[in-house]
């Protein structure tokens, strides 16, 4: 039997708190899960710094990747025998689902911003490079690794297959919303996925939703909306993310200034130099990052040691709402005052905007900006979701942006010049203090 068709003697299952069981029958999937590149995902948390706010959020990219695979497997089971569905694409879909996050590193968002990296580049590099994952995919059939990489990059010619893994109602989102809700312990994020899977229909170039299932999709959009504000955009998590980003900036800056680290930051050198090989990238996981942060608390550089101490011990920055239009002069004045007080505003006064975060809301995709969720009407026509659902339309029109100004409040109490403290607090709190 060809490797691509090989089935395990017995079905294997992973117990899963979200989907109850993740079922594996294909040898290829089983072998991919066992690779070092996939096992590495156990050491990368799905939600980065969110566990600082929601202590249960310790789940990993490994859990999530298995979950996405399981959802795609179930969707394909439902698609059997339907028009437009070609079952030859089954293994391709399941491999792409399983491997879609393979290139994520520790605290990906901050690392990508500071070191100008792209986890999608590394996903491609792992799938196409000299790795065990690549060997397995190429055993399926020569060129299969490239196909999987194309599906994940959304550049594959089969748009239907791409939309299963990546669209505005895809397996990726359906898993992470439920999984993140479960592990954070919030009551949002739950929706009737079984119903959605039942009303999904393949058409030529996308997956659409039978109009009778609209209410289940409304529930999904509401969950997505609630999770963004309550979990993903949580201001305390953002504070930890701000500090993390500043640590990385500071360490890089010190390296460039020939600062003499007490312990050579070996694992970070290629990141500082901007030339990170795949091998070096794969070696860095969260435990390594925490190891350095732990040690950097003892560094002579006061900024680096302070930021690391804050991150490790959850001594976070405080924040106030900030409107860049009305308060730009205030910000300029604060920068001056911080400098006068000996607090470096580059590291200790940070505007954080919602656009700095890697999450998105549902978008109706007007003017072909983005492909929306389409309802399949009884007459066979397609209708964009928000044109048919009042609930989705009202959410789509809401103001969904905000800006916050982060700073270490404890530092303000240590300023010796009373006038400076007074002026800073007046600006920050508008004389409320």
């Amino acid at each position: 039997m060809a490797y691509k068709d090989e089935q395990l003697n017995e079905e294997k299952v992973f117990k899963d708190p979200v989907h109850r069981y993740v079922h594996v029958r294909d040898r290829v999937i089983w072998d991919l899960i066992a690779t070092p590149e996939f096992q590495r995902l156990r050491r990368i948390k799905q939600l980065g710094t969110t566990n600082i706010t929601f202590h249960g959020a310790e789940h990993s990219r490994f859990n999530h990747s298995l979950g996405v695979y399981e959802i795609v497997r179930r969707i394909i089971d439902n698609f059997q025998g339907r028009a437009h569905w070609n079952n030859d694409q089954r293994l391709l879909c399941m491999c792409a689902a399983l491997l879609h996050d393979l290139g994520h590193g520790p605290f990906s968002h901050s690392f990508e911003k500071v070191f100008k990296l792209d986890h999608e580049y590394y996903t491609q590099a792992i799938i196409l490079g000299d790795t065990v994952v690549h060997q397995i995919l190429e055993r399926v059939t020569p060129g299969f690794a490239q196909e999987v990489a194309d599906v994940i990059a959304k550049t594959h010619s089969n748009k239907l297959v791409v939309s299963l893994i990546s669209s505005q109602i895809d397996a990726d989102r359906m898993d992470y919303l439920q999984r993140d809700a479960y592990f954070t312990g919030v009551s949002y994020g739950h929706f009737d996925m079984e119903r959605i899977l039942r009303v999904m229909r393949p058409i030529e170039d996308q997956v659409v939703i039978k109009s009778s299932g609209m209410h289940a999709v409304e529930d999904y959009i509401m969950s997505r909306y609630q999770m963004y504000w309550q979990v993903y955009f949580h201001p305390v998590t953002r504070s930890a993310e701000v500090i993390l980003t500043k640590i990385l900036h500071r360490a890089k800056h010190l390296y460039e200034m020939d600062y003499n680290f007490k312990l050579q930051p070996t694992h970070f050198l290629s990141f500082f130099l901007g030339k990170v090989s795949l091998d070096e990238y794969l070696k860095l996981d969260e435990s390594i990052v925490h190891y350095y942060f732990q040690l950097w608390q003892e560094e002579d550089d006061k900024v680096l040691s302070d930021l690391c101490e804050r991150f490790m011990n959850r001594r976070l920055f405080k924040y106030v709402e900030f409107n860049p239009n009305k308060q730009i002069n205030d910000l300029m004045r604060l920068i001056q005052l911080f400098k006068q007080a000996g607090i470096d505003p580059e590291y200790y006064l940070v505007v954080d905007s919602s656009s700095d975060l890697p999450y998105d809301f549902y978008r109706p995709g007007e003017e072909e900006e983005r492909l929306p969720i389409h309802l399949l009407m009884p007459n066979g026509a397609l209708k964009e979701l928000s044109r048919h659902s009042d609930i989705v339309e009202s959410i789509s029109g809401k103001k969904r942006t905000d800006h916050k100004l982060y700073f270490p409040k404890d530092f303000l109490y240590a300023i010796e010049d009373e006038k400076i403290i007074q002026e800073i607090t007046e600006i920050l709190y508008r004389k409320e203090l």
Partner: protein
């Protein structure tokens, strides 16, 4: 701090007005491909390169009153027009941001249709491939658009022209 917002406002200050969300996305992507330092992350989507970060940042600029978004109702769809407001101009005057002058290129792109810019941005997305491979990839990922030979020639011409202007 707010530098990425300021860069986009500088873009609108030079463009005066941009019509169409898709067109806006493609214009920023094309300029970024030629080294204009926009920091927004783009991924390949159904209609070519798209940045959710850019969409959200534009939404922020509109909510802050720096950019004006005008919604025009057409026969069976909406069209959006974007321009810098007086508040946006004032903000830019206070905020120093380094952006190479690209007004000529912006003007050039404004004169093109969003369909054509979708083609150009898709070709640039696959710029690491050979010319023949790029053309094959365009037909592969965008079969419904049915781009003609003439359009491809025109797109290469625009890419060469932009390369001259922006390098």
């Amino acid at each position: 701090m707010l530098e990425n917002h300021a860069k986009l406002m500088r873009f609108f200050s030079e463009a005066k007005q941009v019509t169409g969300r898709k067109k806006l996305q493609k214009m920023v992507y094309i300029l970024q491909s030629f080294g204009i330092p926009f920091e927004e992350k783009f991924q390949f989507h159904f209609y070519g390169p798209y940045s959710e970060e850019l969409t959200l940042r534009i939404e922020e600029l509109c909510n802050l009153g720096f950019i004006n978004e005008e919604k025009e109702v057409k026969s069976n769809y909406f069209q959006y027009h974007y321009s810098l407001t007086n508040d946006g101009t004032q903000f830019l005057n206070q905020f120093s941001v380094h952006m190479p002058n690209c007004s000529g290129s912006i003007e050039l792109l404004q004169g093109k249709s969003s369909r054509f810019l979708e083609l150009v941005s898709t070709m640039l997305y696959f710029k690491d491939l050979s010319k023949d491979e790029v053309e094959a990839k365009v037909h592969d990922v965008k079969p419904k658009q049915k781009y003609s030979e003439e359009e491809l020639v025109e797109a290469w011409k625009l890419i060469d022209e932009l390369a001259l202007k922006l390098h």
